[in-house]
Amino acid sequence: MKRTAWLGGIAAALIAFAAPAKADTVRVTVSFYSAATGPYFEKMAAEFSKANPGHEIKIEVVNWNALLQKLQTDISGNANSDISIIGTRWLLDFVRDDLIEPLDGYMNPAFRERFIGTFLKPAEIKGKVYGLPIAASARGLYYNKAMLTAAGFPNGPKTWDELVAAAEKIKAAGGNGFGVQGKGTETDVYWYYSLWSHGGDVVSPDGKAAFNSPAGVKTLSLYKSIVDRGLSQPGVTDYDRTDLQNLFKQGRIGMVITAPFLINQIAKEVPTLEYGIAPVPAGTNSSTYAVTDSVVLFKNSKVKATAWKFLDYIFTGPPRIEFTKAEGFLPTTKAEAADPYFTGNERLQTFVNLLPNAHFAPTITGWEDTAKAVTNAAQSVYLGQATPEAALKKAEEEANKALNK
């Protein structure tokens, strides 16, 4: 630590000698969404430096799974970057420690107008906006056209009953019906899809665990029967989201619920795969999960003005369109939404149309603990270690220990 600080000091001194004008170096931490992420931000940095001579943007790409830990250690050591991408659901922890600069003072009405209204909301805490929505996604049901046509649902199942019926047909033909995620990030969310579409909820408005409900027991039992009857892939607790997506790309599974960026992956890796995208099946209603990642400005940054200028730049039309197109996310600004690439893209529109009924992860303390407790509950049920009732009761107790503390 000491040594890097020293070296940094020497480097800063050298730079100060070399460049007579005031030159800011803005450090930006971005998450690795795909192979395109790093090159995209490098390009933006270069363009920004060209338009603003003397200022430099330094990009650091971090794997998503390691991002929070990296920020945690960087911040503890006071060595964090000026700007970072974070999961919007982590925001509260940062705000509670007063680490992030509220952006309201920087945003004029015209800047706010650039965004699609719903997307500024998730990063708002107590009336202040702490992050800008850099990436947004929702979830839909991908189905393999050939397998579902053979099963009698050429346009995908509309309800959970139809999904089970389709999976039974696919199983009878020797295939895997509905992919169930049993490992890794969003194992909990994979169950929330059916919980929400049966009228259940994860956390009640007063901030208590709400998933241990009749809808909760019913939907977890539904998943359990799908697993037990072999209507899913075998060994579900060995499959994280990427594994499920791989099965789908290889045509080895009929249906999978996941995010819009799978469209880009399929187009690149298996362009011949025939597939469709349908809303998450309905129970009593239709519902989905929407996620945003935010880009935030740290309070201890010494180059806030330049950092904001860079943020302002990447949230103008062309840079946004280029980013969202390359990563396969959903538009968060009006300029993107109006671009022909998005208006003419039927598959992406399916996701966009789901947004009005979408649940966002709430910004409350204890969300990660709840996710972990529910993930454990789901895993214990899939493994046959506990009944849905017992597992949910245990998870409820654990979640309530952490929620709103």
Binding site: L99, T237, D238, N376, Q379, L383, Q385, A402
Partner: protein
């Protein structure tokens, strides 16, 4: 004369220890900010935590089987590699090779090997006709944890064999000659000469391996992250989960102090036991 370096060493060792003790006695935010002094509350909550208890027990199983398995394989391996035979250099190199691969990389390779859909292990079993469809090895703790132990053994063999080979080369050859003249067979020679003379080296191997394996993070973290349903957590992976996933450095610091105490007590007791046996 040695005071400055002694001071530096003391600082390097004491400062992190002081920080961990401080963290363990406070309520700490995810980003390391101290909130309230809580005394022993973190320790109490950790000790009452069912996952902690299960992980502690699993850590003991993990350490025992990895270190035990390593010794059971390494002692004969070292004895064989100490014999003079054609190609001994190559054989030694092969045993040492896994050492040159980083632990993380070795874990990733084994994880792939046990993949349910494209793993080498399932492919072999299938081609032998032993199974009809791929076994999801990592899906259940009952299969995943023994596999992790086996990987732990494999990566610990080179180091242990090296220590034991060093020990074997220090045993003079003529005592075996004397034993042969007295009519001792190969097994008797091994029991009466090799093992006792190797004892201090085995002790070193046990202590170093226990300390290392007890704190070994990459294998389990890479292969299962302690899951499914917390079924493969050992203390170090649970500690990491608490600190970095749930953002609770306080209880995590408490666990690390408990781990330190366990290793310390083990080393002390083991050395005392060995000393007593010898007298």
């Amino acid at each position: 004369m040695i005071a400055p370096s002694l001071l530096l060493a003391a600082f390097v060792m004491c400062y992190p220890f002081y920080e961990i003790v401080k963290l363990s006695m406070h309520e700490v935010s995810r980003f390391g900010m101290l909130r309230a002094f809580t005394g022993t509350a973190n320790f109490a909550s950790v000790l009452a935590d069912a996952t902690f208890q299960a992980s502690l027990w699993r850590t003991l199983i993990w350490t025992f089987f990895v270190v035990g398995g390593t010794l059971v394989i390494s002692i004969p391996a070292a004895v064989v590699l100490n014999l003079d035979f054609a190609g001994r250099g190559i054989a030694r190199a092969i045993v040492m090779l896994p050492w040159s691969v980083s632990l993380s990389m070795a874990s990733i390779v084994w994880l792939w090997s046990f993949n349910a859909d494209y793993g080498m292990v399932n492919a072999i079993l299938q081609s032998l006709g032993l199974i009809s469809r791929g076994v999801p090895w990592m899906a259940r703790p009952e299969t995943a944890f023994p596999i992790e132990i086996a990987v732990g053994v494999i990566v610990s063999i080179p180091f242990t064999t090296t220590i034991l080979l060093g020990g074997l080369s220090s045993i003079p050859g003529d005592i075996y000659e004397a034993a042969r003249i007295d009519g001792a067979g190969a097994f008797q020679q091994f029991r009466a000469l090799t093992l006792p003379l190797l004892r201090s080296f085995i002790n070193i191997a046990v202590i170093l391996n226990v300390i290392h394996v007890f704190n070994s993070f990459p294998i389990i973290w890479i292969m299962t992250q302690g899951g499914p349903n917390e079924g493969t957590h050992i203390l170090i992976t649970y500690l990491y989960d608490l600190a970095f996933r749930l953002g609770r450095p306080g209880p995590a610091a408490a666990i690390s102090l408990i781990m330190l105490a366990i290793v310390f007590v083990f080393t002390f007791v083991y050395l005392r036991m060995q000393a007593r046996e010898r007298t």
